[in-house]
Amino acid sequence: MRERSYDVVIVGSGAGGGTVAKELAPLCRQGLSVAVLEWGAKLPDDAFTGRELEMAGQLYFDSGGVLTAEGTMTLAFGRAYGGSTVVYTGTSLIIPPATVGRWAVPGIAWDDLAKRSRKYLAENNVHLQEDEVLNENNTLFRDGCETLGYRVQQFPVNLKGCKGSSLCNLGCPNAAKQGTNRVQLPAAEAAGVEVITNCRVDRLGDRELFTTVAEAGYGEPSRWEPGDYRVKARAVVLAASAVNSPALLLRSGFGARLPVLGRYFTAHPALILVAEHDRPISSFYGHPKSFYCDHFTASHGFLLETCMYFPFTTAKNLIGFGAEHAELMRRMDRMQMILVLAIDPALPENRVTVDANGDPVVHYRFTEEVLTALLESMRASARIFFAAGARRVHAPASASFFIGREDASRVDELIARRHLKLGRNSITSAHLMGGCRMGTSPADSVTDAWGRVHGVPWLSVADASLFPRAAEINPYVTVMALADRVAEKVRADLPELGHA
């Protein structure tokens, strides 16, 4: 086994890991060493082909189809240089004050998170796109919401030179999306941080990581030769996602001292609805996600967002099969899509565990409240589609494949609870949160408000697994703000930390 030694090792290069890397990069000028260990590959710019299966296989764990233990939800999270920031749509929101209030973590104040968030909004060129580049899939959603009196807002997005490929979730082919792969990691590397790709961390010991480098078969080769490595560090920061950070800690034996490790996992469970218009609309030209409706977040526990997906993803999210399904699929140019997300509660039984091989297993039970929120969100979406002039709507919990505009007034009757059945409906999640929640005591949390693991001064967490409850919005900017705090504390604590 080969050995390496650094002052700080960061596991993961997404919103959390990339941010910590950039914020700790100045340490390199002081003669200290910082490394990022990233499981995924770094793809060169011309490797982003937009081909659905090819990109899903190279950029996501399990091609975007990690199943929960119950088999009722698929989880999509990135595995690449840049993590999930390579495959998200770049919508960039500051967490609302009320959400931070509900988090109720002593030491976490909204003012602080907002200030740090704004730093990254500026760094990532976050702005509102001009009207002329908003496509009809988005403007019809806005218009439908406004007609119905639903509050609708435009998403600020982190783009520079966007050409509207609509392929964001398969990696931007125009290098326009300002994820950590474009902003924070290059800055960190320029300052001397080493990023080792194709590197899986198998286990954590006392200030050491046992890792394996194996070439992926695509992307750039790792800095390290393939093989096993023992990496020593004075400080370790885990930013491997809300699935892999708790899993790594669990298979490394930290569960005994941290009884809630892996627990309180939340996911914003989501469904896709599709409507067909009488005419072609510009749905896959232009940025796919320009608007959201938070009108029902407080009252009914759901969010609505515009979205546009690819043929296979769309097909598998439709309920039904056969002639009707094929008929709808043949007119993707007339499709308008809405993504509905439920705000789910943080429950101790929703958790990440590991199997006999140490691989993560996510256990997730849907509450009746979440299923009701998904049902209501579908009804609201159907109303928006019809208000926008759609000819017919496909809702995953409707009595028939299509609801025609002649039945628009019967949406509440036709989209019914008895048709929303786990296993029948394709529920997904790309907002994975919790598992290493912040708090004040090991009895009910894994880390303190600075992301430091209770009782382990050299170990921190800096990803969405810190969230004690759901973010209620897209989580990525909040991850960056929390990661900024983690980096600040690591910098402050480092002089007191030695190697094992």
Partner: protein, 135 residues
């Protein structure tokens, strides 16, 4: 790890695919080959236990109709095949619903993940999508 047997492939690619994704029935030899390669590739990436479950479910799907109709699924009329598939889709047992969803996902992957089918779906994205916005 064994993927599917030839009989299971035959059942998936002819009987099931024809009912679930009718457009796959019109594939030429290249399309059928790509369908099989895509599905085989997906199965190869799955844990062995999951592939066993899929194979088991394919067996249930094929044989269960014999209890009611006296014939396996592949020997029923298209209308009855659809009725059986709808039953599984809405089955009272969650595992059966999940099984059907999984089979559908494989068929849709084999059909719609082929870039060659995109024009037939009127799905014509462009790296410079903005140039088409007001065309």
């Amino acid at each position: 790890m064994q993927s599917l047997t030839e009989r299971e492939w035959e059942f998936l690619t002819t009987c099931l695919a024809a009912r679930i994704a009718p457009d796959s029935a019109a594939f030429d030899a290249d399309g059928r080959r790509r369908f099989r390669e895509i599905v085989a590739g997906a199965l190869a990436q799955r844990p062995e236990a999951m592939v066993k479950q899929i194979r088991l479910f394919l067996g249930v799907l094929r044989r269960a109709p014999a209890l009611r109709y006296g014939r396996t699924l592949d020997r029923l009329s298209p209308e009855r095949q659809d009725a059986v598939l709808r039953w599984f889709q809405d089955a009272p047992v969650q595992k059966l619903r999940q099984g059907l969803w999984g089979v559908k996902a494989l068929v849709y992957m084999g059909t719609y993940a082929q870039p060659e089918v995109a024009p037939g779906l009127h799905y014509t994205p462009s790296f410079d999508g903005n140039a088409h916005l007001h065309a």
